[in-house]
Symmetry: C2
Subunit: 305 residues, 2 copies
């Protein structure tokens, strides 16, 4: 098979590469630590050569596309946000092309923005939209959940992202455990405690509007000996994820089963939280970022390789 | 007038002393940095002498009482929590007496605990209950709000604390600004911005259940140039306080006007947030900790001085 696309999922801390054929099948994949924070002095082309110079040489006709923070202000070049509603063709229109030495180009995907109509408050994502396009069918109503430092809930209608919301769940967990009183009683290196996690999920789900109060239970349950230090991190994680699910479900009520996209450990944790909430979920396909880039590239005009 | 009570509001970082007469009037007050964290090797009696040895010498008949973290595990001696409902007589019953050199005693106030009936989750406070007893009348339905690192909402019926809830608002604000992405765009030393604060309060109040999402607006409003770095700290503070008020009001709906107890700057900030919510508040009396200790001392049996 002939490779005709090199797709790069290029984030803050990691870089994943996919060599793909015309049918969108993955011929080869690789992963490295060359996230944009590791690239010094803007030497992105050198980083690209280092990461996949062999692919570039072996497949001179292959087009190149990248998605994620590589298109941010801190990345190679800024690709402005594509506003919602955003379908594959809209994203393709908002891609930018960076010329490379030797006459090739790198297409960089835009992020996506949306604005809450009532408050005028914007939200942004960069990279997650590509996974959503790779994972979701082009018709019907869907919601994708991408857990992480900043979890994203993405609502899709007939192949277009109509709204999304960021939840700072992962980063808040890290800040609370490392920099507040809640961390004091915790054994942070303890293995995941499924029962404590489920208890936290239920408590968070029950009253997400009282999160600033309910999180204090991660101290008092320890003080009163109801949860051991080993169980408290899982409990707090569950409480925050339960609050996220409760808050997000109230935003845009839907009967659609959430599709979970992300690393195996985080999606498993979220799947178990959705289970506590009585909400059935589906697991997304792997390599959805690569599939998403291939779809957008098909929608993009082919001006040059 | 003869001093017959030395009352100490002895917290983690500060120590306030009040010399009082039999009518509960304050004859003298002083304040120092001798919080329990500053007292080394458990040398609390030496700290007491250093802080108010002159009072002890001049008023040998005066009784001594202390409230706050001095009664915690990290303090002089642990005074167990008094469970809710807790009136002045209940608190008096739960005081402990620490013998001092020379035959006097120091009475230490207990903290107060409550347990959420549905979930079994406990909550605790230590020191705030004393201010509440000093500030609230002995009859009627009241709610007191004590803003701080861990804000307390305290519901009182006919002079007894029937329930309370801690909100980690202040500590979460500190952790988010210092240890998450939200701090990046902020000018943390900027003066208070009342308009940005009010906007944050309104946004937090509107959907406290989506706090993990809404807090992300403290980044995106900066990214999109809608709020300057100088305005973002006030905005986030408002958003968290708005979420606290929204969540707390849903816990125990009441028509009572909240009574605000605390430092002038914090109670002013909360009063303006309650104003955005359309909720009238009353300002509590100053020195309510001293008044509260005098009230509990009146309810305590006088076994010795």
């Amino acid at each position: 098979m002939t490779a005709n696309l090199i797709a790069l999922d290029w984030g803050t801390t990691s870089l994943r590469g996919y060599l793909m054929d015309a049918a969108g099948s993955i011929l080869e994949r690789r992963e490295g630590g060359l996230g944009i924070m590791k690239v010094e002095n803007g030497a992105f082309e050198a980083a690209l050569d280092q990461f996949c110079g062999d692919w570039l040489t072996a497949h001179p006709q292959a087009r190149l596309i990248a998605s994620g923070m590589i298109g941010s202000k801190q990345g190679w070049r800024e690709a402005p946000y594509c506003p919602c509603p955003a379908g594959a063709a809209d994203l393709a229109t908002h891609t930018i092309r960076v010329p490379l030495t030797g006459g090739r180009h790198l297409t960089i995907m835009p992020g996506v923005s949306c604005v809450d109509a009532a408050s005028g408050v914007p939200d942004v994502m960069r990279g997650e939209e590509t996974q959503v396009f790779g994972a979701l069918p082009a018709t019907g109503s869907h919601v994708a959940v991408l857990p992480g430092t900043h979890s994203k809930w993405v609502w899709v209608e007939d192949g277009a992202i109509v709204a999304f919301a960021s939840f700072m769940t992962g980063e808040v967990y890290a800040a609370l455990t490392a920099h507040t009183l809640l961390g004091r009683l915790m054994k942070l290196d303890a293995p995941h405690d499924a029962a404590a996690f489920a208890r936290g999920v239920a408590y968070g789900l029950e009253a997400p509007q009282a999160l600033l109060n309910r999180m204090f239970s991660a101290r008092t349950l320890g003080l009163f000996g109801q949860l051991a230090g080993e169980a408290l991190p899982s409990y707090l994680s569950g409480l925050l994820i339960g609050s996220e699910i409760g808050g997000a479900r109230a935003m845009r009520p839907t009967d659609a089963h959430p599709l979970l996209l992300g690393s195996a450990d985080l999606t498993a944790r979220y799947a178990s939280a959705f289970g506590v909430a009585g909400i059935a979920v589906a697991a997304g396909p792997t390599d959805s970022a690569a599939t998403g880039m291939a779809r957008v590239m098909q929608a993009a005009p082919r001006t040059a390789n």
